[in-house]
Amino acid sequence: MQNFLDYFNQSLLFRNFVEVLSGLDNTLLLLIISLPIGFVLSLVFALGRVSKNKIISKPIAGYIFVIRGTPLLVQIYLIYFGLGSVEFIRESFLWILLKEPFWCGVLALTINTVAYGSEIFRGGIQSVTKGQIESGLSLGFNKMTLLRKIIFPIALRKVLPSYGNELILMVKATSLVSLTTYMEMTGIARKIMAKTFAPVEAFIAAGILYLFLNFLMVQFVKYLEWKYNPHLRLEQN
């Protein structure tokens, strides 16, 4: 009897695993859209944040303060339930996107990651020493070349570990979009639980997949660190 039960539980876990796997593409879709946009915007916002022009830097500082001071759940709900209740948004063209939980999720995740990301990049940009910038200027670089050839490479290399952390937090944050009826892995696990009344099996199946995703993310960041820090590599052969 015990053997039979064990076998049954194992197969339940396996079947859940397959079912949760069908939500993997929805989770990945959220990440594939929000992470690259978030990365580019973070760089732009970080530059704005360190800019000497107060009209640019103050609003960005305020935006970062508000987003970092409130939970992501509030932001997702604000966009999904809050914006949906405003009359003129429902009548505007924005409604085509904002009525979908998917795009609300993408918007919320992007807004969230830009706030954290730009704060990380700001640290990186400010860590570029004056001498490095001066040497670039003395070579006759203009502002764009200076950014592209000196500031960004040095800054990005330095912040890779902390930005990697932020990427992992983003993978985990996608689970919150399930609360807006979007069926990604956590949403499916929740549905399985309601169907089978076996919560542990359902959530462990989803947990394993998230762990695997994060493992891949860690390896990716490690590879980037290895690639962009050639001077720190141990001598090989």
């Binding site: 508000v66 939970p71 339930f81 992992i168 919150l176 542990v200 959530f203």
Partner: protein, 234 residues
Amino acid sequence: MFKFDKLVFGDLGWGDEFLFATLMTITVSILSMGLGLCLAILTVWAKLITNKITRIIANFYTTVVRGVPELLVIYLIFFGGNTVVMSIAKLFGYNGYIELNALTIGTIAIAFISATYSSEVLRAAYLAVNKGQIEAAKALGLNKFQIFFKVMGPQILRHALPGIGNVWQITLKDTSLISVTGLVEIMRQTRIASNVEHSPLTFLVTAALLYLFLTTFSGKFFKVLELNYSKGYN
């Protein structure tokens, strides 16, 4: 669009409900932060002593909980916690039905998450304290407890305070997730109020402002604490 007149205190508005919800959020945050710190101390101890098995268990715990979404951990503990508690009770011969209340489960779940972050902070703080300090304390003939409470503890605390402040902010924000268990804290109260009044924007903005107030205020508090604690170094 906005119905801020619904936020008055008393029977006409949601002001007092939100006040209690905020107090609940603070209660859960403090309880789970405290429990999390205790768990974190245990985890750090397990990682630092020269015992392979405890180290493997501690590493497994921190890796898994930090690699899995917070919401999943909360779901697992909320829906699976009763089963586990009942099967433990069965081992002791109790066959009845046990149901933990939402506050207990929420606190335990957030503490489990918070402890993984705290343990990293505490471990780094422990390693930052010079080993010579322990040797000096031993040379003075202090016993283990004296070394911990009089020499290592205060120094670890000084190194750990900025990190603990960060963990506190994360914990405070994570408590919004236990609204899925039905515990009436700020987020749950927001959902209830916006369903009744059909004005989600009003109450969501209120919730955002409340969280902003809590994080800013506690951030200031930790700044003061840090200043006080590193007096001798400024």
